[in-house]
């Protein structure tokens, strides 16, 4: 089992501190659910108003890269779970290895996203481009507006997550495993958002 956790004011018992940290993080995630929920409502309305144009626009999204990123993020959730549970169990070598794997997978996700963005830009798949292939098609324009906005917001969340995960390497994990636990919760939330974005962006076109 792990060493005695470091307690901060006003907590006198590890369980109370843990409960407060997890509760606080879930409270934050509840606001994030509402934040992303607004985007998903926008998606539903845009698709409902022009389903044919929407599907035409979605057909140009890169399914292969989107799917690769889904696998990368799902795997990173698994490795970070291993890290968190290993830290809690006092298996520090396993925890550090799994944290490094998570960082590699998260970075790979951003790199793949970068390649995808480069391809999208070279094909003028952004509504403000004069050469946008779907100009005049409302559904497709809305799809690509949604695509850019929501994937960039997600990538920002992931980048923040990478920073939080990297910070774990500098912590005294045997005594600060609660930080690993809440960091992991945030990372899984970002993963769930992508699991929802994957079909919405990549599976509505085929």
């Amino acid at each position: 089992m792990s060493s005695t956790p470091i307690l901060v004011e006003p907590f006198e018992e590890p369980e109370r501190q843990r409960e407060a940290m997890v509760f606080g993080l879930w409270l934050f995630l509840a606001t994030e659910i509402l934040f992303f929920g607004g985007f998903f409502f926008l998606y539903a309305v845009a698709r409902m108003q022009d389903p044919v144009g929407f599907a035409k626009g979605a057909a140009r999204a890169n399914l292969l890269l989107g799917t690769v990123n889904t696998v990368l993020l799902m795997t990173s959730s698994a490795t970070l779970t291993v890290a968190e549970r290993a830290a809690q169990a006092g298996w520090m070598r396993g925890a550090r290895g799994a944290i490094l794997a998570t960082l590699a997978l998260g970075t790979a996700f951003l790199a793949v996203k970068g390649f995808e963005y480069r391809e999208d830009l070279s094909e003028h798949l952004f509504p403000t481009s004069p050469a946008f292939p779907f100009s005049g098609l409302v559904g497709a324009t809305r799809f690509w507006s949604f695509y850019w906005f929501v994937t960039i917001v997600h990538a920002i969340h992931l980048t923040i997550g990478l920073g939080c995960v990297a910070r774990l390497l500098r912590l005294d994990l045997p005594r600060r495993w609660m930080v690993a636990e809440v960091t992991t919760l945030y990372w899984h939330f970002v993963d769930i958002i992508w699991l929802l974005l994957w079909p919405l962006l990549y599976l509505v076109g085929p």
């Binding site: 509840a30 659910i33 929920g37 698994a78 779970t81 290993a86 169990a89 992991t184 699991l195």
Partner: protein, 94 residues
């Protein structure tokens, strides 16, 4: 320090959930790619709900969390459902 069996339990537990997530994702992809099948997006969303349940229960251990934490997790979904219900009610009755 965790014993070898505990280490194995940690790793295998994560791999098991990952495999289930992967299979669900693969089924969603296959359904989307087969031409002519009905209700592709609703089917994909059902799979997402199952995947989210796996992540929430397996990775985030929401089932083992206190009632306070579980209620907090539910609150976001509840308010979001109100947002969707009221906005769609407005949209569909215009």
């Amino acid at each position: 320090m965790a014993g070898t069996s505990e280490q194995r339990t940690i790793v295998l537990g994560a791999i098991g959930i990952w495999a289930a997530l992967f299979l669900l994702g693969a089924s969603s992809l296959a359904y989307a790619l087969i031409p002519g099948l009905p209700l592709k997006l609703p089917a994909a969303l059902v799979v997402v709900v199952l995947q989210a349940a796996l992540v929430l229960g397996g990775f985030m251990r929401l089932g083992k969390a206190s009632a306070l934490v579980r209620t907090t997790a539910l609150i976001g979904i509840v308010w979001l459902s109100f947002l969707f219900m009221m906005s769609f009610a407005d949209l569909w009755t215009r």
